[in-house]
């Protein structure tokens, strides 16, 4: 099996009977290590649902989600928590920063929960914050940061440590054009270094950093687009 993350006919239905909403329908997909996949689709089409299922934050109604070959459904609560802590870096659409912790503490938290020493956690957190251009803001609390800065703290928390599966839900929504591009470059670098990545975005320019773009409509993956390797591109050039 080549996919680090795989979905086999995954369906997620919220609620029951007449009031039920099928947020995802029989989705099958696979993301390998070293690969970055973008997900695009209109609001309410099921993108966040897809991502929360991939990150083990929600469970499918039907079908199988595997991370690193392990069927998430086979795991106990604590087993699932461990996968989330050690393998998954998750950037939430609404940032989900803890208001009583500083930016650096927010970023260091997953590492500390994972049993890494406080000092080493802080060091890695500072490094990750520097990668998103936040050095001077490390000691500030989320409420004292701008929206775009909060978003970048959330991204630093997602990429800190050696998580092999990066899941990011609209990670560039609050950022200006160049900062958004820097964030995509960072996620891309992590994938080039061996992580499997999935990014939800409304912005085609950011989706274009991915190897493949999945288009989702009404809970269904309807199409995808893949890029040529750059040597093929240059060979096709008229020069």
């Amino acid at each position: 099996m080549s996919g680090y993350l795989t979905f086999e006919r995954v369906t997620r239905v919220h609620g029951q009977g007449a009031a039920s909403v099928t947020a995802l329908r029989a989705a099958s997909l696979s993301v390998a290590r070293g690969e970055l996949v973008a997900v695009m689709g209109p609001s309410g089409s099921g993108k966040s649902t897809l991502l929360t299922l991939a990150g083990g934050l929600d469970r499918p109604t039907e079908g199988t989600v595997r991370v690193d070959g392990v069927d998430l459904r086979s795991l106990t609560r604590s087993g699932l928590a461990e996968v989330r802590r050690t393998k998954v870096g998750y950037v939430f659409q609404g940032f989900n920063l803890i208001p009583s912790l500083t930016a650096a503490e927010n970023v260091a938290l997953p590492l500390e929960l994972d049993g890494l020493g406080g000092r080493e956690s802080r060091r890695l957190a500072q490094e990750a914050l520097a990668e998103v251009g936040l050095v001077d803001e490390a000691a500030r609390f989320p409420d004292d940061l701008s929206g775009g800065q909060q978003q970048r703290v959330a991204i630093a928390r997602g990429v800190v440590g050696d998580r092999r599966l990066l899941l990011a839900d609209e990670p560039t929504g609050a950022l200006d054009s160049q900062t958004g591009e820097d964030v995509m470059r960072l996620i891309r670098e992590r994938c080039d270094a061996g992580a499997a990545g999935m990014v939800v975005t409304h912005d085609a320019r950011h989706a274009a950093w991915a190897d493949r773009v999945l288009f989702i409509r009404d809970g269904m993956v309807v199409d995808e687009s893949a890029s040529e390797p750059v040597d093929v591109l240059l060979a096709g050039d008229a020069r």
């Binding site: 085609a204 320019r205 274009a208 288009f215 890029s227 040529e228 240059l234 008229a238």
Partner: protein, 207 residues
């Protein structure tokens, strides 16, 4: 765009041979703007005719060295000082095709849209890869090249945004309870009656 002005701007920096001009042009635009040597000489011929450049006597190798004239320098300054007009009559085939798809019975508009979206997305991915392959320790030429690639990237992005917008509008139209799909074609466009605008009220008030 004006190849003429681009070449003039290069000659404003120093006199050059035709093949040099082509190389300099390409280093600034990358693979995005193929220019053949024939076009370079045709353009130089016109510039010379218009008195914007002058050719030296050919050297031993039979090549002319071109230099810019004072009028040529003025033309370059004017070019940089004047914004480019939005293409009045640019015929965008994508928009055109879509306009006809929407009004052609039996055409799956969603499929037309998605096919275009996939193609444009692929182009956008390819441009992004090209850009990533560039050396980030950018010199001025690397910068100018990647800015040209950026312009292709933003144009493709805008097209995808427009396609998303079209799709949303088509869906909303199809979902509307009074979708007039079955209405007789000859029905008077009652809803098109010109509404009174705020501007008219303002004009009245001003009288």
């Amino acid at each position: 765009m004006s190849v003429k002005h681009a070449l003039l701007s290069l000659l404003a920096q120093e006199p050059m041979y035709g093949y040099q001009l082509r190389a300099e042009f390409e280093s600034r635009t990358g693979a995005t703007w193929p220019l053949n040597i024939g076009q370079v000489y045709t353009t130089l011929g016109r510039l010379e005719r218009d008195g914007l450049v002058a050719a030296d006597e050919p050297g031993a190798d039979g090549q002319h060295h071109y230099r810019i004239t004072d009028d040529g320098r003025t033309a370059v300054l004017d070019w940089f000082a004047t914004p480019v007009a939005r293409d009045q009559a640019r015929r965008d085939e994508v928009a055109m095709k879509f306009a006809f798809a929407v009004t052609s019975p039996g055409v799956d508009v969603g499929a037309v849209l998605q096919a275009q979206r996939r193609a444009t997305m692929k182009a956008l991915q390819d441009y992004t890869r090209l850009k990533r392959s560039g050396d980030p320790a950018e010199g001025r030429e690397e910068l100018s090249w990647s800015l040209v690639v950026d312009s292709l990237i933003f144009a493709a992005e805008a097209e995808i945004r427009w396609l998303d917008h079209c799709e949303a509008r088509v869906r909303r139209y199809a979902a509307a309870p009074a979708a007039p799909a079955a209405a007789p074609a000859a029905a008077p466009p009652a809803t098109r009656a010109k509404p009174a605008t705020g501007a008219e009220h303002a004009e009245e008030a001003a009288r």
